[in-house]
Amino acid sequence: MAQRSLKGIAVVGGGPAGLMAALTAARHGAAVVLVDENAEPGGQLRKQIHKFFGSKAHRAGVRGYRIAQELISDCTAAGVELLGQSVVFSLRECTLDLLQKDDAFNLKADAIILATGASENALAFPGCTLPGVMGAGAAQTFVNLHRVLPGRRVLMVGGGNVGLIVAYQLLQAGAEVVGVVEALPYLSGYQVHAAKIKRAGVPIWTSHTVLEARGDQEVQEVTIAAIDDHFHPLPGSERTLAVDTVCLAVGLTPLAELAWQAGCRFCYQGALGGYVPLHSDNMETTLPHVYVAGDIAGVEEASTALEEGAIAGLAAAAAIGCPVPIAEFDAAQERLVSLRKGPFGDIRQLVKSEIVKRWADCRVVE
């Protein structure tokens, strides 16, 4: 297998965290290779056509896909080398094995930043494997990026921000959204996102779940029902809806396989989507010179991924000897922490602090 040695940083994943990490490290003088499995980098930003929250420093008010365009051209200007259509299948110490189209080779770097993102969760119910049942993010990719509708009449399952935002974007693309079901008695997404689809006439059913999808070869109808406090369906509350598509927005799980392979220590944090690699404030894992950023480090949102990417980029650049003013770390930390306040952010801040504490404990023991 061909080998390549890089005096610099390899970043895996070209979404918001990876792009920002690559850009930040390159701007501080590091040689950076950004590896992404898709033909074009940008990750989920490319399909996010809504305006971002946050402040000006977080690019608030800018639509996600425009942030991707900006970051990609900034990366190019900063000299980041992009390896597209390249799948990383192994990580040992600071060496990546990757497959670019049909060529396998390995890439040894001085530091690695894993920004591999997250994958959508599935939900098991009779008929859940029928064509027409798909991830909400998958539907969003087809609608906003490829500009085809996966179906005409859609039921959205899940009232978090992903479900609410994708329901709105399906409406914008001309689909009909027959409703949103959410198993909890309340919506976990922002009320402003819920308000947009309510005004557009979409019913939202909390304390409801999907019982079954039916159809010959593909989804033709779905049955939903109200559920009690123990999430058991209430007999008699079943309702059958004619839909051709059921979108699942039932959470995301960090894509952390490479960190497992490399031997990073993990902990389970349900609030952040599952097992996440322990990491410091500077996004360093329990392995030297291996960093994480974005959803792999705990599922949050694109704006926090950008800031974690910036921090990981600064830390990795500093670790390989690039001069990084300490004030830049402080500024990036401040931007990140400001996104983790209020009733939605407090819990994430708490959990992140717990992860950092356990990272420090690991360091002491070893």
Binding site: S119, T129, L130, P131, A138, V148, Q172, A173
Partner: protein, 105 residues
């Protein structure tokens, strides 16, 4: 169904349409778009049937991870249609089970 106009993204830019053969029928696809997108534009959602029970499967994750959307493309089985770009003249077939390699008998 294609989204020809969009309130934020504007009209669909002009594209190069190429023929794509799906189970013997020719459809017109955008060169470079994922095969699965070209199929969805025509309302084709069945990609394969499972090996044991013959159950239908289609796109689930849309980003190349779940492999539910694999089809046989130009004779090669198990091609992830959600991340494989369309090229002119490609032949795509609904895959039965694990599919057959060209030299399998």
């Amino acid at each position: 169904m294609r989204i020809t106009n969009h309130p934020l993204l504007g009209p669909q830019p002009p594209v190069n349409l190429v023929p794509l053969e799906v189970d013997g029928q020719v459809i017109w696809a955008k060169e470079g778009e994922p095969i699965a997108a070209a199929l969805l534009a025509y309302g084709i959602r069945l990609c394969r049937t499972t090996k044991r029970r013959g159950e239908p499967r289609g796109v689930f994750c849309g980003i190349g991870h779940c492999t539910d959307c694999v089809m046989t493309v130009d004779g090669i089985p198990n091609v992830r249609t959600c991340v494989t770009p369309v090229r002119a003249g490609m032949k795509v077939t609904t895959q039965r089970g694990l599919g057959q390699w060209p030299n399998d008998h």
